[in-house]
Amino acid sequence: MPEHSTIRDHILAQAAALDLPLDEACLPGIDSNMALLGAFADLLHAFPLPPEREPAPEYRP
């Protein structure tokens, strides 16, 4: 698990990449929600999928 300051730096870098200003008051809530999403992401990435498995949404021109 990265240090707290590292997580905070990561959040701020992500937000900067999206041109998304963050109020200090939002940071604790973003922290906890990112931790939750991160746990779900770990679970998902641990499941092997064959290369031919395409994303579900279908695009019809």
Partner: protein, 454 residues
Amino acid sequence: MSGPDSRSAAAIAADVRAGRTSAEQVARDALADIARRDPPLNAFTRLLPERALADARAVDAKIARGIDPGPLAGVPFAVKDLFDVAGIPTTAGAALRRDASPAARDADAITSLNEAGGVLVGTLNMDEFAYGFATDNAHFGLTRNPHDPDRIAGGSSGGSAAAVAAGLVPLSLGSDTNGSIRVPAALCGLYGLRATQGGLSRRGAFPFAASFDMVGPFARSVADMRLIFDALAGCRSADVPAEGLRVGRLEGWFRRNASEELLAGIDRIADHFGGAVPVELPEAERARAAAFLITAAEGGNLHLPDLRSRAMAYDPATRDRLLAGAMLPAATYIQAQRFRGWARDAALALFDRFDLLVAPGCPGPAPRIASATIMVEGKPVSARANLGLYTQPLTLIGLPVLSVPLARPGELPLGVQLIAAPGREDLLFAAAAALEEAGIIGFSEPVEMELSSR
């Protein structure tokens, strides 16, 4: 419920069509009843008396001219505050949309119900932008559960559920992205339908996560549920027998954390159909994770422009979830969508062996407002984020699911999900009607209905 419900949509429509009462009188009575009994419940965000009376008079005028007013003749209904209603802003439960441009026309679902003779009387409370399972809204207040005002109604369509459970309207519309119809239906003891993904028009319903958003109805009986679904779908659902259904009882993920009473209720349902075969929904926990991630990413992306310019105008409970979702890596979102395809194929294979699957709707009864938590794996977790434990895996796949209430007069409601193959809502209605007839499921009147005196 024993005997015919005089407040049911079917009974009201029959009375209006036969001239025993007028649609205008029904609308006036409903508006007065809501004004008197809703304030302590806080299900409604807005009453629409002028429109309701005009629509009701139009129904009466059709009857006077000998024109069929439709199967919902004069039936009052209300909608979650994310449906476009012509002439007023669609708030989607957000203060920052109070000044939005008024909707140019009604949402398709409202038009369908109007064309069937229904009368729109008001709009209903929700979690801000439908992101939550509590209907605890920083701007529009908390909606209370009619069965116990010290408990939440569930969300995000909590106003839609509370209004029907309290008997303020016989029918309502909500939306279900991750369980936002099925969770409040379970906690308020109602029937709530999430139809097959893509099966009903969502034009004019404020979006949340495009992969999963569905509009859908709440009702107090199977007959009323079928009446409103047929009106929304624009055709009569098929009459199919409930005998001989091959029933599977979802195990594993769907038994962990569920209350004993709920599991006993599922056993009664299984027994009615001659027993159910235990079966696993493959990778259910990962399916829930994928639904959670896709929702976060799509919701965050949808709101990114407003999050950049006025994030502090959001409800804090919604804002921080959307901000985190907006920053989810693309690799994770795409992985979740690839997993979705895998999960669909694995789930559809179950319907070679089964016609109907049965699973809990929520882990237990409605949580108390004061605690706002539920126990998962022995730990207290946020009810707002976690009440969809059993609904989210099914969201991912897009199957039709009817949430039905176990018959529990005098006790807090518990809900069960009946699940069928895509497009088989008719099987859900047949199974639910048989279970209702047998007294195993059914709406129970709230015991604590002294709302106006609280």
